[in-house]
Symmetry: none
Subunit: 412 residues, 2 copies
């Protein structure tokens, strides 16, 4: 099957937003074995949108659009799709009900123009939207498939994954099954060197390394008649990689480091408290992302000033004066004392120079100490990060979580 | 002038990288008053690249490409451009010298295929590359302009800014100046209804509304002979919008809500502490994003459990029992007590049901109370948010910041 991706939105043509939807959809279609030869961006203009859609269908079997499903007069994707398939529009009562409910729940007033969002082409499959008001649309007719998705990535990703992907995968003769190994805190090229030989030896499955945020990913993809056959091809290759990378592989599949750590804490029933300086609440926030974490995450402090390190945590004035706020000693006292004052088994702390100012020759921007109190031991770790203030804070959180993960693995 | 942007690269079609070059170029062209009606991505395939380029020139006066200038056989942008303009290729000695020098400087060995990068169409302007090996190309012929830029953004941005932009701006009679109004916490369609009349009445300047994350944006764009004339056209329209939306417009230009709040805190020299339950550190973290915030942000707590609300903050057991952790009373006590215990002028607190579990008929998922202690007053506000746990937490932070902003505006 050949596909094209069309993003509809003047805001992309003006450069107000980056078209990350195209990347997401491109990856997903590649994983389904569907070729994408073109991606196009077109504005909210009826004639040009029509030209683009018709031109795409002259080359492709499948066209996926994002955007242009909203309530305003400019939003014309559905109408243009209906024209291509020669379909009339009708009101979908269920979609309307969901839109009304969405407005009720958010306490906002549903304006008249929102009703437009509940109109759909007559023979379409309606893709109900759990994360916004505009439903998506799928039409299959005369060997052509059109999938219309909303604009916001938060709506696009779940709608595609849950509703469109299963529909499309049924149409593919071969299945492409991937196993994704997630590697924490190792630079991509460093990891690539370690597994280079394994990567080059493979034809089916293939092994593709890439960087995603602060982690590295190895995607092992097998082309096979069915899932079972694919897994048989993948298993020995995955084993080889584990033999090389060990516990640097923190998980498989769609997850992230904070989720893995949160699950470990819950599984091992270890209570935890956080004490943050340079990360300013991000470490606590990343644990709190996980639903049900309240059983083990009890308490956190963001002791940003020296005063609050003393008052809230009882870090000794002597320690702060002698070694400074950014020091292994302060990190350790923060970790130990937050556990003590919160009554938790684990305490974890960060203190560092996030920049862009405040660095010195001795303590440059990017220097971060992580303190960890676990299983009766109190330890600290020095890290040096490069990049912006934001990046330094994110890397500090990531490194703290990864260290905690490795220590949790050896806890009873 | 009408332009199109074409990205050449299979890695974009596969979703391995996001096409950020398109965003950069779109913004730059918009600021020059050059209309961009289409952006396209095409792979390293000679036929499809040629089709795309010829099709683009059938609609546009200017085509800007990124990518496909490298040393491999797949890199065909220059050859395709030369074909369109009916130009022969020739070796550019200066480009070759620079490529050799670049390899020397980076200590790498220059392989034979790199010579290909020094071949350029005969009547082209060569855009020498200070940040990589591939030179860019500019051809103007028969009222058509083609600009070929390399792929990596760190080469594209300086090459366009220093060499292409001055060339193009000389061709433009009019300048396009925009003023961007950022509106906090109002849904796009609700805002559109409020300013609909103003939008529809405008021709020059135009007013374009759109949603970006949790905020709405109004872009007022004037076409004029110069900046001064543009601002004169924009001013009365901006005033009309302010008259309707009032302090819902939180800022103009490239910024975000947390930056505006952080700046207000610093300007008014108001110290602040945060007390968070459902937002779990995100509120503190969003303030700490701003460099230099340590002058006013002293302290925060993430009192996730009832115990920690009592121990760290001295929230009364009676309050928690009688009204529950998610209540205006608890939010107010948290805000008041965090300010008191941290010794700050302002205390701000969040408590709510972030879900997906833990909701009841009386206190459903999405119910959040914000507490604010400022200028001697202690207040709370009830919010109801829809969406995922992540979204509810983000909206809670955003609403807390927006409320704080409005209260700060009336503080001395």
């Amino acid at each position: 099957m050949q596909a094209e991706i069309i993003a509809v939105g003047t805001e992309i043509l003006l450069g107000d937003i980056v078209n990350t939807n195209a990347q997401f959809l491109a990856q997903e279609l590649a994983s389904l074995g569907i070729d994408v030869y073109y991606q196009t961006v077109v504005g909210d203009n009826p004639k040009r949108l029509e030209d683009t859609l018709f031109h795409a269908f002259s080359r492709a079997d499948l066209v996926i659009t994002t955007g242009g499903l909203g309530p305003t007069e400019d939003d014309l994707t559905k109408e243009t799709g209906a024209k291509y398939f020669n379909e009339k529009m009708k009101l979908d009562e269920r979609a309307l009900g969901r839109i009304k409910k969405y407005f009720d729940k958010t306490g906002r007033i549903m304006t008249e123009n929102n009703v437009k969002q509940a109109y759909v082409p007559e023979n379409a499959i309606v893709l109900y939207n759990d994360n916004g008001t505009a439903p998506g649309i799928l039409i299959e007719k005369n060997n052509k498939i059109m999938v219309m998705l909303p604009g916001p990535p938060k709506e696009v990703i779940p709608m595609f994954t849950e509703q469109v992907k299963p529909y499309l995968s049924k149409k593919q003769e071969y299945t492409f099954i991937s196993r994704v190994l997630r590697v924490a805190n190792v630079g991509e090229s460093a990891m690539e060197m370690q597994v280079k030989d394994i990567i080059h030896r493979q034809e089916n499955p293939t092994v593709a390394p890439y960087a995603k945020g602060m982690e590295s990913i190895l995607r092992i993809t097998a082309k096979a008649k069915n899932e079972e056959e694919a897994q048989e091809l993948i298993s020995p290759v995955a084993k080889e990689i584990y033999d090389v990378l060990g516990d640097a592989v923190y998980a498989e599949g769609e997850t992230n480091l904070q989720t893995v750590v949160a699950k470990l804490l819950l599984e091992k029933n270890k209570t935890i408290a956080t004490a943050e300086s340079c990360t300013g609440g991000l470490l606590a926030a990343s644990l709190v992302e996980y639903p049900g974490i309240s059983k083990v995450f009890l308490d956190g402090v963001v002791t940003y000033s020296n005063e609050s390190k003393k008052n809230r945590l009882g870090v000794k004035g002597e320690t702060l004066e002698k070694y400074g706020a950014v020091s292994p000693q302060t990190a350790e006292e923060m970790a130990e004392n937050v556990a003590k004052t919160a009554g938790t088994e684990i305490g974890i702390a960060t203190t560092g120079v996030a920049g862009p100012d405040g660095g010195t020759a001795e303590k440059p921007v990017g220097l971060v100490y992580i303190g960890l109190c676990i299983g009766g031991r109190v330890m600290s770790k020095e890290c040096r990060f490069a990049g912006s203030r934001e990046r330094i804070r994110e890397r500090a959180v990531y490194s703290a979580l990864d260290w905690l993960r490795k220590e949790l693995l050896v806890q009873p």
